[in-house]
């Protein structure tokens, strides 16, 4: 197929999306994620007319395509362009007394909301969060007071419904000043539950959440789902490390010998992969079971445990150069630590103050450890060349 760059300032209409459709999921012409074009997106089942406006009605059932795209968004950069057009949508057959549910324009968030509304008649107000989920966008301020006020007036919500309340997801609260929204638009913000699956119960109970509906969870499945993206981002940079290894271990006074790259460097490649596994997969998944509260320490403990285990099982300490083993044992648990620290961004409970403190304490150790490991590595190299 031909890849043509679309000339548009709207990044959401991405040529990448069209390229990516060559994965075989569907015809590229039907695969535009943004709806600037004339095509009706597949999740729109019809239209409701309100005055001169026609408002799209969304399907409350997710199709196989929605589910496949969710998987793609979980494992690849597909998620960076996975958005819907901001504005007002309908679920069921809402009228002027129906509830209004606010969400972000990340397609996965939008899907979570609409699939929770089966059998209900409500309006969905989608804010322009640049394709980012509600909580992250609220943290950045794009799911925020000014965008909400702007969107309320753009869709003229006051002419669509006769009541004065909107249901905003609780996790949108870091970006929304509900007092200001009320003063400037007249709409009262009701904070709905954390998870859209509780929306039905929340509305049925008279806009009330129980304690559980207000709490954020972060169980093992939640953590597991996040690891493919973490691993992907690291492994995308792994070739730099592999290149360094091939050159360093292949380097001899006579030039680079690739046989040496492999026979002597394999231990480093293996160690690199093991530390990625320990820091970016094992630590996130088994987070509460690893000692210490600090992520840097958790990652270091996990990494050290894996390396100590491998060293013990293989007896590598006896068969390999001591300085090479020392270099590995210093460097790679620290790499696991660094990768575990990166996972703070994906968690639901780490604070800015805490992360700042961790970085302040951990980075000097990372730098010193890397330097020490490199010194060991150089000593190994010198002894390998037979100079000492």
């Amino acid at each position: 197929m031909k890849f043509e760059t679309l000339k548009t300032s709207d990044r959401r209409i991405s040529p990448l999306i069209q390229v990516k459709s060559s994965c075989g999921c569907s015809d590229p012409a039907n695969n535009t994620i943004s709806e600037k074009g004339a095509l009706t997106p597949h999740y729109i089942s019809g239209y409701i007319s309100i005055g001169a406006e026609s408002i799209p009605v969304v399907s409350t059932k997710l199709s196989a395509r929605d589910k496949w795209e969710t998987v793609k968004a979980r494992i690849s950069s597909f998620r960076m362009h996975y958005s819907v057009k901001p504005g007002l949508y309908a679920a069921g057959e809402p009228d002027d007394s129906s509830d209004v549910i606010v969400t972000s324009n990340y397609k996965m968030s939008f899907d979570a909301v609409r699939s929770s509304l089966q059998g209900m008649n409500v309006w969905i107000l989608v804010l322009d969060t640049k394709g980012i989920n509600v909580w992250c966008a609220a943290g950045k301020g794009t799911f925020g007071t000014s965008e909400l006020l702007n969107r309320l007036s753009r869709v003229r919500l006051g002419e669509v419904v006769t009541h004065k309340k909107i249901i905003v997801p609780q996790l949108g609260a870091p970006g929304i000043d509900s007092g200001e929204v009320r003063r400037k638009s007249g709409f009262s913000v009701l904070y709905g539950p954390v998870r859209s699956e509780d929306l039905k119960k929340y509305i049925a109970d008279g806009y009330k959440c129980n304690d559980d509906m207000r709490r954020v969870r972060f169980d093992i499945i939640d953590r597991l789902i996040l690891t493919p993206i973490e691993l992907r981002q690291i492994l995308l940079k792994f070739h730099y490390f592999a290149l360094f290894t091939v050159i360093f271990f292949g380097l001899t006074p006579e030039g680079i010998i690739f046989r040496d790259s492999i026979y002597k460097g394999y231990i480093f490649i293996f160690a690199g992969l093991l530390s990625v596994f320990a820091g970016a997969f094992f630590t996130p998944v088994f987070l509460p079971f690893i000692p210490f509260r600090s992520f840097a320490l958790k990652g270091w403990v996990a990494g050290s445990a894996f390396f100590a285990g491998v060293l013990y099982l293989t007896g590598a300490a006896a068969t390999h150069n001591t300085f090479l083993v020392l270099s590995v044992m210093v460097l790679f648990p620290l790499l696991s630590s660094y990768l575990a620290l990166q996972f703070t961004g994906a968690t639901t409970f780490t604070s800015l103050s805490g992360v700042k403190k961790e970085i302040k304490l951990a980075f000097p150790v990372y730098i010193a450890g890397t330097a020490l490991s490199f010194i060991f590595l150089v000593i190994y190299k010198i002894s390998d060349w037979g100079l000492i």
Binding site: S77, A138, S178, R215, V216, R293, G345, T348, F349
Partner: protein
Amino acid sequence: MIYLKDIATLQVFPEKCTGCGRCMEVCPHAVFKLENRKVSIVSKDRCMECGACEKNCDFGAIFVKAGVGCAAAVINGIIKGTEPNCDCSGSSGTCC
């Protein structure tokens, strides 16, 4: 799960609190409790400094230095010399 001890910047000023309960509604970690029509902090270590309570308190009764608890954002901020920001939606493709 609980993060580092005694690190959150969260503060409540009881003299300004009217006991409306809005902060308890928006807090994702049940950090607050209401007693005698005043809010107090049950567990400061559960606070992730998202800032929802401060932003939604009409009476200025809560202070927290809000931000994202994300190492990549903090490192980004240090490199660029700005406040921590997770505005990494560019080419790198890494984000919360």
